[in-house]
Symmetry: C2
């Protein structure tokens, strides 16, 4: 019986093995198809990624001329490899990151080379036995101190890479000096090739389809505010929906968009750090107030926390009774839609870089709608109702009230940004239709949006945009919006 | 008059200059004092930073022996610099990060060297003119493809550095081959020195005061849950405080602690990525379920969003009337304190790595307190009150109800973690006092905590901890708690 069972097992293993083998081509095909979709998705999410990859290839191919071209090679020899190394490690996705790393690497190499040569000469004086001891101690000391400096938050944000390269170069130069007395020439060649490699990166990243971290930050913050607006515009309809009105999940993607705002802090901060390295570009001047974007971003995140709380009530087990709902439906929906409109208007004016005054009217509407909601709650319509059925409704109303406050804060910070960064004021010649041409219309309630009450400021200003400038802006933004 | 004003200006400038010069020593002194405090703070926040800096210095001093020691230098020559480079770029703060980078660098170097040598031989076949063209194209292609791969989120999380080194090594080896025919030896020496450098990093980082990313992640999650618990324990007292009961701001630090939880996602994810590289250490086995910590972390963050909403009501302009407050005070405070206790108990059991069953009773208490609160609201005590004065109170109650749900979710995920990671069950021999010896008692309401109803499981288990093991755990944790 034991044998039988064993042979049965064996047959089983064989059958399983055959089945597995038969399934292999199918599995393999699935895997390949899966990978292909994945590749396509990564490329489509941001086509700039494909371009960036080609740019890195180009830069590398360019600096390898150091090896191929005889006159260059006879000058630089193997130090040419520093140019290649520089390109590989310095070339980053955005211009700001590339410039930051390049400048860090350049300055650190220069400084560390000088100090390294100094250390070498100092060590030279201390005799054959003392030299390695002194050199070793110096290397130990500078590595420990520089490593410790990298823990300081401010230094880490901007000069982390510079310190790394400082440790590296100082160690290499001072230690190499122990074996090679032509250390000055070595340092000189290294600085030169690193300079060439760094320049290749910076020039290619600026000239060939540049990706500006500053522009990305600008668009990210505007997009985040728009996402909050999308949720709020749709929230009223969603919360007070009639049964049977169930839409497909795809239509409700805008209700999930805000979730990415909750965790966007790290991304925003690194973009702002990169942007600080960038020269003026496009619509942004050199000292554009990037820090102010972080303030706007923080306030947007605070609003997103409130929205997260609202979202909890969309799918809560205990809902307000339909009677209660129908009573507060109009007021709540108004507050929500007007806040949403205000946020989307703010986002739009940010994208166009015009004064955000057109959002003010929506904020006023939202505030008065919130007041209406309050007096509705006060009016004692509730006394005959079971309070437990009222609570979810009241909580939603209360959170919406908070959302209005958050919206006001965001608007204030965007106003501040607009005045620091000298955004243009909207000219009368720009028709509201044109101003809104870039706005996505994928939301049901957007049909209800009435643009006729957009406030249009008339200001005599040399900075005022020509209509063509404003209406052409969305095209430039569009391909950059997904960060 | 013009002249007079100019000389006046000049005198002004001089006076200003003198004043500035006089102020300089004071300013300088202030600056130095400031920097000194800053340095002290960075070191005190986490003393492991100082040790890490010394470890990097030590590793660098060690590998520079490649240069100083004649027999080694005559073997390796200038390729010894790769050992130094490896140490500088691979040595990271935690063992996991160092191991991950080291393995990435090692594997990528090996693979890229092999492919680079292959490319060199292929190019050799294509004649003197074709060689640089073929080499250039190959370098371009692999750089573009590898750079594109770095955009895939899964690859970026674990193999980003490996791909960077792959591009670097392939380019260097294949291009160097154009000039140097001893390319095989070059590749061989490079792999060997990088191996030595990498080993030096890994060994020093494991042997000398190791910093384990896994342990840090474990402590970070436990600390985050504790912070939420601290807020909730203190919230009741704070919200319903009698006027004149104002404490100094220092005492209220625990009310702000939760804010760091809101933005901890990125940190948690990178720690989990590093931890995945680490071997078993201390109380953690090799395949410890680090991913489960991310789940617990996400749920803790969701709870933190609710707490952020609660916090908004602490400082709101419109408060519930004192009548309303006094009515709901007891029930709300109970819910809040019991949830807080449950979370702190969960955090404590996590720190001790014991089954979290002792938190269950608090969760039951919190749930029944929430039920009480509900029936209190239902009891129609309100009919004669102005509803607008009731709303903030009702909202707070409603959010507290959500917090109880979040606490349940966190407890569930911690239970799951405990069962996957096979946490020990608490033995009867461990007295509750001992179990709680590590708990901070800095909170006013902690005086009210009654530990007598801690559930103590008795289980016959080979994994059960001896009392001494459990009571000695806090010491080991303490110095690692600040991440």
């Amino acid at each position: 019986m034991e044998i039988g069972s064993a042979s049965g097992d064996k047959a089983g293993v064989f059958t399983q093995g055959r089945r597995w083998l038969n399934a292999l081509p199918v599995k393999f095909k699935d895997k390949v198809a899966d990978t292909a979709t994945n590749i396509k998705k990564v490329g489509q999410d941001d086509p700039r990624r494909v371009i960036h990859s080609l740019k890195v290839g180009l830069a590398l191919a360019l600096v390898s001329i150091f090896y191929y071209y005889q006159p260059l090679y006879s000058n630089f020899g193997v130090t040419a490899m520093w140019a290649i190394m520089t390109v590989v490690v310095v070339f980053e996705f955005s211009v700001g990151a590339t410039l930051g790393k390049g400048l860090n690497r350049g300055m650190a190499t220069l400084l560390a080379s000088a100090l390294g040569v100094g250390a070498h000469h100092l060590a030279n004086l201390s005799g054959h036995v003392g030299e390695p001891i002194l050199l070793g101690s110096l290397v130990f000391l500078q590595a420990a101190i520089s490593t410790f400096l990298r823990f300081f938050p401010k230094i880490k944000a901007r000069y982390d890479y510079g310190l790394l390269i400082f440790i590296l170069t100082f160690s290499l130069i001072s230690i190499s000096g122990f074996r090679d007395d032509e250390i000055l020439e070595l340092a000189h060649k290294r600085v030169l090739t690193i300079f060439v490699g760094g320049c290749a990166c910076v020039i290619i990243s600026i000239v060939v389809f540049p990706v500006w971290a500053g522009e990305d930050l600008h668009n990210l913050i505007a997009l985040n505010i728009e996402k909050l607006g999308n949720f709020l515009e749709g929230f009223g309809d969603e919360y007070f929906k009639r049964t049977g009105d169930a839409e497909s999940k795809d239509d409700k993607k805008y209700l999930e968009g805000y979730k990415s705002v909750l965790n966007s802090k790290t991304g925003e901060e690194s973009l702002a750090n990169f942007a600080a390295w960038e020269p003026g570009h496009g619509r942004f001047q050199f000292r554009h107030p990037w820090k102010q974007y972080l303030k706007v971003g923080t306030l947007a995140r605070e609003c997103a926390y409130r929205i997260e709380a609202l979202n909890g009530y969309l799918n809560a087990d205990i809902q307000a009774s339909s009677e209660v709902r129908s009573r507060i439906q109009e007021a709540c929906t108004n507050v929500s839609i007007e806040s949403g409109k205000a946020l989307k208007e703010l986002s739009l004016t940010m994208k166009k870089m015009v004064q955000p005054s057109s959002a003010d009217s929506h904020i006023e509407n939202a505030k008065s709608a919130a007041k209406n909601l309050k007096s509705l709650l006060k009016s004692g319509l509730w006394e005959d109702t079971d309070l437990l059925k009222v609570i979810p409704g009241i909580t939603v109303a209360s959170i919406l009230n908070e959302v209005v406050k958050c919206t006001e804060n965001i608007a204030e910070s965007v106003h501040e940004l607009a005045s620091i960064a000298q955004f243009k004021s909207v000219e009368r010649t720009v028709s509201p239709e044109k101003l809104h041409s870039g706005q996505p219309q994928n939301i049901k309630s957007a049909q209800m949006v009435n643009y006729s009450h957009v406030v249009v400021n008339v200001r005599e200003s040399t900075m005022a945009a020509s209509p063509s400038e404003i209406s052409s802006a969305p095209k430039a933004i569009k391909h950059n919006m997904e960060v």
